[in-house]
Symmetry: C2
Amino acid sequence: LEPIEASMRIRSSRGNATISDVARSSGVSIATVSNVLNNGPKPVKEATRQRVLIAAKELSYHPNATARSLVNRRTHTLGIFFFVVDSMVVVTNNYASGILQGVLTATTELKYNLTFFTRPWAGTKQTAFAAFQDGRADGLVIVAPPSDSDILSDLIDIGLTMVVVAGTGRDIGIPCVDVDDALGATLATNHLISLGHKRIAHISGDPNMNSVPLRRSAFTSRLTEAAIEVRPEYMVTGQYNGSNAYEQTLSLLRFKNPPTAIFAGNDTIAMACMHAARDSGVSVPRDLSIVGFDDAPASALVHPPLTSVSQPLTEIGSLATNMLVDMIERPDVDRRGSLHLLKPSLVVRESTAPPST
Amino acid sequence: LEPIEASMRIRSSRGNATISDVARSSGVSIATVSNVLNNGPKPVKEATRQRVLIAAKELSYHPNATARSLVNRRTHTLGIFFFVVDSMVVVTNNYASGILQGVLTATTELKYNLTFFTRPWAGTKQTAFAAFQDGRADGLVIVAPPSDSDILSDLIDIGLTMVVVAGTGRDIGIPCVDVDDALGATLATNHLISLGHKRIAHISGDPNMNSVPLRRSAFTSRLTEAAIEVRPEYMVTGQYNGSNAYEQTLSLLRFKNPPTAIFAGNDTIAMACMHAARDSGVSVPRDLSIVGFDDAPASALVHPPLTSVSQPLTEIGSLATNMLVDMIERPDVDRRGSLHLLKPSLVVRESTAPPST
DNA sequence: CTGAAAGCGCTAACAA
DNA sequence: TTGTTAGCGCTTTCAG
């Protein structure tokens, strides 16, 4: 066996040791080194195996991932594609980071790598598009594609392996994981109805998000079923980043018949509602009940603590990831259009109460 | 020119078109294709160029990133390594997601990819270690290495290009970006002192985080300078996830001489303090002033809104990334041990007031 | 049981 | 102006 110094000298000067460094230093062929290090199918004499193992360790050899990927046609890397909201602020919003956390956890467990695809999507013809097609990732998790984007069909054409999170609503033959939005909205609405509210408003998220019509129509259905009038002026289209929810709430509260409860599209909107209520001298929950959606960590910390529909973000992310890897590793199975809806639950806190009037 | 159908037939059946598909379909050599597509140095006849371009487009050819990386010895990918805190929950805490957002933004602007290195670090000898050495990334952003870990020196031995975020305190010759912890603590402490507080406690973060001793010693220095006694029982060692801050605050409040103010190691701890105070019937800020660190989004939403030291997380992340890419692309320059401290600022809200006694 | 050689898709000398 | 060829580091038949 070579002493350490000798083997060090053998190793190619710039950069890491390669498989042929190991082969040379252990006196075998690179084919054998590869076979040993991969626990390959071919039987190897124990002495040889040891020699290779030791040489590899001494050279602190690590197979080059790129070279491997090239021949294996598999990068062992997953991509995650977030739609760029709020000009690049992706990770710091509660929804995205929850999903990401789930994807990341599952990815790690499955021994895959995770890389971001962040360039704004601009259609097939764009340069940005290249990243999807250059073999960087074995599969892609697409998060919350807007309903007015053609990204999914474009990506299908490429033949990429992928799963969609929060893409319900348009079935285009890609497996999809999502919270059951209709159920979530139903839970929230039922809660308000059972408290005795009759004048209930809804401030939704961005109109081009798939969840929005689902939540809205479940909301109106419940109202109708409970023989409660659905007033058009109570149906407000907002944005998930809460940008104009404050003003919208002020408007609602200025009505001759203001709502006694608001079902907010998410917690960010709900908190804007709370601020608007406070600034209008309207007490929550005495004069106004508020229900959010997402059960973000901050919901428990605000005052009063927010009643909210909790959705299992990390589970959604990790289920999607597990499905994706399964698709990659068993491409034979056909799961086009499979849909997995996870159940939300209502977390009742102190922002909701029976109407005072 | 080949009609589309013909060129489609040329293309290798499984998978994407390759450079030789384009070469064949446009009747030139692969070298020319490469040269055209990379705007290479060699002059090309305009007609040829057009033929190549059109063939590439018809075949919707995209150079394979893996093959490219192999020959270029550059993946155009950055890695980010978070120390695994709270068993994998990385992205959903305010600090980590702020840094990540900054790194991600800069990475995107610089046209690099970002991949996660999430396997828990377990020393050089571990399998997990392989990922760092297999050439997957051109450089690495290391976030908040614990002071009792030997990761940095191990990684230096590998010869990886990297920059450290929140690694101040131990200069081991790697460029480092961080907030000025001492200044942040000084701002917080000065604020409390100038309000008239004499009995000020400090609940720190995890003892093995580099920021902790820096913040603590700035705190005690200011106290000493102001001729305020540093009581040992007021110096509490906590954790950044706030896990036992609630109980620690209760203990502090039970003292015969309880503190009138607490400087919390971060906002999570500060919020736990607020809960403990409320549950003890201690009013914030009347009976107890609280200052946090980080200025997390939730700080503005809690009640009362939290006074906190704001640190520029995304700037830190993007500065680190820019430095890293510069190191990758201009390896000649020597920047060992360079240290960049960004300035924090104090955001005064309603959790601080003069002491009532 | 082990090795030689082909080739993954691409870039970059070096020729022509 | 364009083509030929030799690798990048690795896996994998196919021979010995």
